[in-house]
Symmetry: C2
Subunit: 376 residues, 2 copies
């Protein structure tokens, strides 16, 4: 019996655009995933999205997504069923068949990977994820931050290789081992991990992010159609702040150890002229600085949009001359607890500054989760 809503091709279009925005520069480009997902719909497969409230405690939910470096995803086409193969490997290991899937990260291509795997497997996808954005590492999910075991986990590649991480000392070791396998697999693999009960998902996931991605995409598409300013639409929906706008003057970007790392320089336009900001990135945009002043930093979202079209600018396409708006968007409260900041705060990325949260400009900011989680 269907519990949720069924996605259309138009929904996929909007989700892919919104997911790229939430990707904060990384997460991989959702374009190819969108094409693959659309092809599955055209073949008659269905993609059912259920809300977290529809989960039974007895559900078994696996977190799935691609793992690798985003620059590779462009050139190395996935066969399409890598996440499904990883899911099957981890189900065999754990002996617990999946009843639903959830995205590890809504930002970027991993918004679509669970939809594709679920369409193959005939399973619903939970409306939510473990990041509310994109992060570069496997352990940086609210699932693991709030105590869900990551293993057994599995990786699979398009050549038919699959690897099960059957036990790891901790979540950092899960990341290290998974990353080294993913790099060996050609820097792109499907991954399934963290068998969760429905109750665990309700407690730890960031809710509603698949729908949020779709709303974001719809807002940008509709603004373009109506010749409204898409940047303002995004700011309104996410409660964000326009930190800067300007022209990209320099991009220093390199692929090391499965990650894209680098810096971007932007020179101001309009009300920001004569100013300069620098953005640090590790797959995603991590920190925006004006001189010594930190304008925003992880886990808050730093989003680059094309000034005119509102198109999100991802790390791998970024280049000299792009005219961009730099948006700062407050992260979900589950990413800002003391427990979460240890894993996704500035220090987790090697910075020595504390996290100073951006204000939430939405009409009804969502802060209720913090106290519950911090009191554990």
């Amino acid at each position: 019996m269907p519990r949720g809503r069924f996605l259309t091709e138009a929904d996929l279009e909007a989700i892919a655009l919104g997911a790229a925005i939430l990707g904060t520069g990384g997460g991989g480009n959702p374009y190819l995933g969108k094409l693959r997902a659309r092809e599955l719909l055209r073949q008659g497969k269905v993609m059912e999205v259920i809300s977290m409230d529809d989960l039974q405690d007895s559900d078994t939910v696996y977190e799935v997504g691609g793992i690798g470096a985003p620059m590779v995803g462009i050139e190395k086409f996935e066969k399409g069923d890598e996440c499904l193969m990883a899911l099957r490997a981890v189900e065999r290991q754990s002996g617990r068949p999946a009843t639903a899937l959830i995205s590890s990260e809504i930002g970027g291509s991993n918004a679509l990977e669970p939809l594709i795997a679920a369409a193959y497997a005939g399973l619903p996808v939970v409306d939510g994820d473990g990041m509310g954005r994109a992060f570069p590492e496997v352990q940086m999910t609210t699932f693991m931050i709030y105590g869900v075991e990551g293993t057994p986990a599995a990786l699979a590649d398009e050549k038919g290789n699959s690897v099960v991480l059957s036990a790891t000392q901790d979540a950092l070791w899960l990341e290290r081992l998974a990353r080294s396998v993913a790099v060996e697999m050609g820097a792109a693999a499907g991954m399934a991990l963290a068998a969760m009960s429905g109750a665990q998902v309700r407690e730890t996931a960031i809710p509603g992010t698949l729908t949020l991605a779709q709303q974001l995409g719809e807002a940008v598409l509709s603004a373009r159609a109506q010749r409204l300013n898409p940047v303002q639409q995004v700011l309104d929906l996410l409660g964000g702040t326009l930190l800067f706008q300007g022209k990209v003057t320099d991009v220093d970007r390199r692929l090391t150890g499965g990650f894209v790392r680098g810096q971007v320089q932007i020179s101001g336009l309009d009300e920001f002229r004569n100013e300069q900001v620098q953005i640090d990135l590790q797959n995603e945009n991590l920190v925006v600085r004006r001189g010594q002043e930190i304008l925003a930093s992880v886990p808050d979202l730093i989003i680059l949009l094309d000034l005119e079209s509102g198109e999100p600018i991802t790390t791998e396409v970024l280049r000299f001359g792009f005219r961009v708006a730099v948006l700062g968007v407050p992260a979900h409260p589950k990413l800002k607890t003391e427990q979460a900041l240890k894993v996704v705060g500035p220090r987790a990325f090697g910075y020595d500054h504390p996290f100073v949260p951006l204000p939430d400009h939405r009409a009804v900011p969502n802060e209720e989760a913090v106290h519950v989680l911090d009191s554990r």
Copy 2:
């Protein structure tokens, strides 16, 4: 009911020495493994060795051994139960409990690893292995050369991490993925792979090598005690040729991608004075050259022994000034078939010369296996 013989501390001493000789410079130093194995005997554990003829077709035999780079083994102490943990992980994955273990490689520390894992698990160890020597890569066993599936396979480290390679495209991918996991685990891990039936082991393993290692060790120890020439004892037992003797004048050795690679220059002494040879190594000694002339090459064994004591000189301790005998020993016939040479012949190691086998000087050379295997 015991089927085999039970090892004593003296047996372990001899096996460790003989295994180091068969390690052809690599395979890891068996010294620490010997200490750990001895400690288990002193705790009352038993190490039972059964002959290949004692195997039932219905037996389930796992190949176990350490994987990594030999130079690391010296500094990174194993906890001791890594191979057991890997065995448990692969048993869980395959659903087939082990009834016996066998060494992946008799040369070096992997002669002892199965004895240790088997002592923990209460299992016997089959008298034989998959190399009859040491080789640097996982797929270079007679098991895999003659068609045994390597996966599911598992790796485990001393920190409690375990990884199952549940399917790989081929044996080379098994090696690539296992190696990258082992390197990430700190370049030393326990590995269990290739669940085999008793019949498969009888067909593919190199028989009697645990006993051969013990005989070699005993011969050297006894020669030392009787002030006989241990080098001659080793040559007699293995049917080998004294290729050279001299002084090490240069060692160029580096650790790359989990392997030790390098070259060794040796200047002749006695009847070899005014001559020079060069040995190439990748964990093990691969090729001996005098100028352009190839004196011996893989899969034949190239063994360096200290001229006086007969102590085997391993890659990691080799240095300027060592006075060594260079022995060439014919490989087991199962390593010299056309099928085997594709995997362990000179070309498999990047050389463009064909394999020219060394003569076998034993009274009863063992060549019967070749025709059977090549006719398949």
